[in-house]
């Protein structure tokens, strides 16, 4: 993937796509998903939508929960500390969601069900 050199607009090789040097591999979808979904700046507050608001069932299942088996096999125990995977925090997230929905409903005049 040499889009940079062909366009001439970008001086350096594109990130995440180093050549074929010893042991180097191109960025695959898994690496990209892991980074864009799990890392980077997270901003809450007055934001309209962000991932924190969304329960990522499939993604979490594929990215994280599936890894638990692998990790267990390897004797790694990170999942014990993963807030998403520990039941207590999941309950908090759910409660948070419920309360926010309730607030939103209350702020909407003439629509007070739920």
């Amino acid at each position: 993937m040499d889009r940079a050199s062909s366009s001439g607009a970008v001086a350096r090789p594109a990130y995440g796509s180093m050549g074929s040097g010893g042991g180097r591999e191109p960025a695959n979808l898994g690496d990209i998903l892991e980074r864009v979904l799990d890392r980077g700046v997270v901003i809450a507050g007055d934001i309209r939508v962000n991932l924190l608001d969304i329960e990522l069932l499939t993604i979490k299942l594929r990215l994280l929960i599936a890894s638990v088996d692998t990790a267990k096999e390897l004797g790694i125990d990170w999942w014990k500390h993963d807030p998403f995977l520990s039941g207590r925090d999941r309950q908090l997230v759910e409660e948070n969601r419920r309360l926010r929905r309730r607030v939103a409903a209350l702020e909407r005049p003439g629509d007070l069900d739920d």
Binding site: R3, Y15, R35, R39, V41, I59, A66
Partner: protein, 283 residues
């Protein structure tokens, strides 16, 4: 699973699809309309050309408080909370969106110090993004300073099949005439060997991580990827991210190269925008 932004040249033809410098400051336009939101990709200090973003939308910049936000206008019918809930479960849509997001971040990060923002961060309009830059100015500047002149490298270590240390001749002789015992003995030895190999491999991963982190400005371990994500059958022992001073790139790569072999295979990815080192506390 093919390589990352395999769309070589997408949106890069002779500056097409590039937008430089939103004239947001003039106050006209761009305050996203009813059904639109402002999608935020990254924050940097310089306005630079960027390729098209998610859903093919052109990317523009909002400059405020000495910072520059890279954004595009997105339809809320797809980027509102409810539609996203559904779309994010669609692996094809997710893959396409993640790649588009990454391409914008990657392009900007190749040219200037950049703080990547998490996928699907959508504001009501540009004014809200400008407000964010103003409120979090110091946080962003500190964060950008931390990653200036440094790049992120990924290092993964896999446990590959070690050569089985069996001595079939010996055991066969020792248990001549008692094939059942011989079998059990072999099996036990083999299990114990595997357990031991596993423990040694984990220790090596710890050691590798410590050594790499010592050369890097910062280093951290992410959870090991599942084989379905890594695309490899071999179990992953280490999924590390390292923020390395550019002058030490070669030193770092050389060090990585020294650790492979003997049941452990190392893979290096990068350079990445500093995704793993631009974590900012939410407020």
């Amino acid at each position: 699973m093919t390589d990352a932004g395999s769309g070589s040249g997408e949106g890069f033809a002779e500056g097409e699809g590039f937008a430089v410098g939103g004239n947001f400051a003039e106050g006209e336009g761009f305050a996203a309309g009813e059904g639109e939101g402002t999608y935020l990709y990254a924050v940097a200090r310089d306005p630079l050309p960027a390729p098209a973003g998610v859903a093919g939308a052109p990317v523009r910049t909002i400059a405020h408080a000495g910072l520059v936000a890279y954004v595009s206008t997105v339809p809320l019918e797809r980027f509102g909370e409810e539609p996203l809930r559904r779309l994010l479960e669609d692996m094809d849509w997710l893959a396409e969106t993640a790649r588009a997001h990454h391409l914008v971040v990657d392009t900007v990060a190749a040219l200037t110090t950049t703080a990547p923002v998490r996928l699907v961060t959508v504001y009501a309009d540009d004014a809200q993004v400008a407000d964010l830059l103003e409120r979090r100015e110091n946080d962003f500047l500190r964060l950008l300073e931390h990653v200036t002149g440094r790049r992120e490298w990924g290092v993964k270590a896999y446990a590959v099949q070690p050569a089985e240390q069996e001595h079939p001749q010996q055991s066969a002789e020792a248990h001549a005439g008692r094939p059942g015992t011989a079998y059990l003995q072999r099996r036990r030895t083999s299990l114990r060997g595997r357990e031991q190999a596993r423990r040694q491999a984990l220790q090596r991963a710890d050691h590798i991580h410590r050594a790499l982190a010592a050369v890097a400005a910062a280093g951290l371990r992410h959870r090991a990827q599942d084989p379905r994500l890594s695309g490899r059958d071999a179990p992953m022992l280490l999924n590390g991210a390292y923020l390395v001073d550019q002058e030490r790139d070669a030193e770092f790569a050389d060090l990585v190269a020294t650790f492979g072999g003997d049941g452990v295979e190392l893979r290096m990815t990068g350079p990445w925008a500093p995704y793993s080192f631009t974590v900012m506390e939410a407020t």
